[in-house]
Symmetry: none
Subunit: 208 residues, 4 copies
């Protein structure tokens, strides 16, 4: 009985180690270019062991993507809960950017691999994206109802916000020198938040 615990723990540890290695390798090299040999080495297990924990290579990807979207969703939820000031989009944007930067590998895997594995995403990605959109939608709708935001279509606004979150993460991943460890995008985030709140146009004075 006591002997079971370590084994089981070890099992879970192997499982997690594989997923962590996979997330990083898939993000760095892509799914196809990552061999099971590399996965095994990076996870410090034998190649055959991978197939005791996952049916095949693809289901490792499935697990990474699945957990990935869950994580991203949960983090978004947490962020929105923390935001008290509906006008303080700057804080939200900075938060999101830091968060997506922290999950850079996850975002990269999800965005680059999902399009080619729709069967993995049907049940998961779409659901998670829908949830994220719903959460944002509710957030926006509340803002509208309370008179902070203009009465736009909350669903569309939510989609725009999602695009911005993912897009800024994308830029973070690919358009910057990867050496920059983090916050170089803060000005961009601030501009983005400013535009999102106030728009580009000069406000027409109400009296004119």
């Amino acid at each position: 009985m006591l002997l079971h615990r370590p084994t089981q723990t070890s099992d879970q540890k192997i499982h997690s180690r594989i997923l962590e290695s996979a997330e990083h390798l898939f993000a760095t090299q892509g799914y196809e270019r990552t061999t099971t040999k590399q996965l095994a080495e990076a996870s410090h297990v034998a190649e055959g062991t991978l197939f005791r924990h996952f049916e095949n290579k693809k289901s490792i990807l499935a697990a990474v993507i699945s957990e990935g979207w869950n994580t991203l969703l949960n983090d978004l939820l947490a962020t929105l809960c923390e935001v008290s000031d509906y006008q303080d989009m700057v804080a939200l944007m900075r938060h999101r950017i830091k968060d997506f930067h922290h999950h850079a590998d996850l975002v990269k895997v999800c965005l680059t691999q999902s399009p080619f594995h729709p069967e993995l995403c049907e049940p998961l990605q779409k659901e998670r994206l829908r949830q994220m959109q719903e959460v944002l939608e509710a957030f926006v709708q509340t803002g509208i109802d309370r008179g902070f935001y203009r009465p736009l279509d909350a669903a569309n606004v939510a989609q725009v916000m999602l695009i911005l979150f993912l897009g800024i993460s994308w830029i973070d991943n690919h358009w910057l020198n990867p050496s920059s460890s983090a916050p170089s995008q803060v000005p961009l985030a601030d501009t983005l938040a400013d535009i999102l709140m106030n728009g580009l146009l000069v406000h027409q004075p109400a009296t004119s």
Copy 2:
């Protein structure tokens, strides 16, 4: 003299046929999952013929990506030239969305494959993206100088706009049922344009 033409034309046709097939197959299946056999069949040539026109499989991808960014850049330039009204962001957004929808395969290949082939992108993608950003930046700066836009950092605004163009194309590609041939995103585009122009917040009347 006249006899030369058909051969040359045929040559170009093969080259183009390969690139067109490649663009579609790479977008549909991904680069790695597309075999040279499939590429040959889709181009109606023998497998060996591929390697008369391109050094290897990767240089087919390079050509697709290279031409892809050029096309996207040129189309963006053309759009911006046509836009006369700096306040008519709605027209611009609709234009862009229709255009990126038209080049959906291109965008998909460029966005999903570039991260894993940095050597293909260093000289090309970065240059093209920089050009697109510069063009947008000039557009924005003019809008600011003429008093239409608020005096934000034009470079950051340009990046935000690029994110939005690419992002909306992404959504178009992956979050919608692919059967929808086109204009389902018009409302989204209009909302996006509205937010970009006017922001989310209710304008505080200057007199209040």
Copy 3:
């Protein structure tokens, strides 16, 4: 403990089986005309297994040639050690011929493939040939010092002997009907030994 042995033995057996098949196939068909498929079939392993034991096809050739020269060198050493009578070149020649006949495939591979793979031979063949020549040179020098042989340049004599050993093996391989399993060249070997010892010319009586 006992369970390990069969695996290890089996490993070595695969490695050796591949080398044996390769030696024979390379000798029979040449290196280029031998496919890895044939190699695998002749070794009774899967094609992929070849590449677990050797980095690529060429390193199989390298191993064959390397082991080949070692074998030929060792056999020559053994022969020379056994020869007690410096005047009994007939015995040496017969010995050599039988030996090279026994290693006919090896000689053929080494002689026909080495010229086109100098990178394989630089460290090995040249060294082994040098060693063989040195051994023969020492043998000859001893013969000279003891007054059996005429005071010729031992290095040159050694080279002549090597040429004869390899050349007679060559003839054995290619100028005879391959059905003759062996000793048809004994008269030739005897003549060769006679010439090597006594020369072609009629001896001028010392008194004349």
Copy 4:
């Protein structure tokens, strides 16, 4: 009529150019590693033109080998005709070495490719080798009949001489630094001739 001549001449020139290029390329890279593209480029003709002059790649090799053995045979005949002094084997050997050195490519192609194309050699190589042996045999027999040479088996002696000729050419090709343009093997040739004439053993004085 007059127009034919240049064409025909050009034909022959193309034919010869191909054979010359082939001889050198086959000797340098081996038959299999030489592509028809390389052959065409080295011959300054189009790839397709090769197949107007030769049925296929193999028949180019056949022509090279065929002409090669003829050349070697004719040169040997010429040398033997020139040799007046049956005891002057040194002159013969030096002659042969210079000659084989001059035909180094030819010898290399014939020796390395023949073993793997017996069908090319059955009618040609064997015949030529037989002729060479016969010529040498007659030479030796004459030397024996006139009392210069010891009464050995002339056929075997002829084979030994052939081995020496080919073997010394082999050494010339592969055991020396290829930069040495020529006569570095003269001492070896002299030693070889000395041994061939006088043998290794110290002559026992007839009176002892």
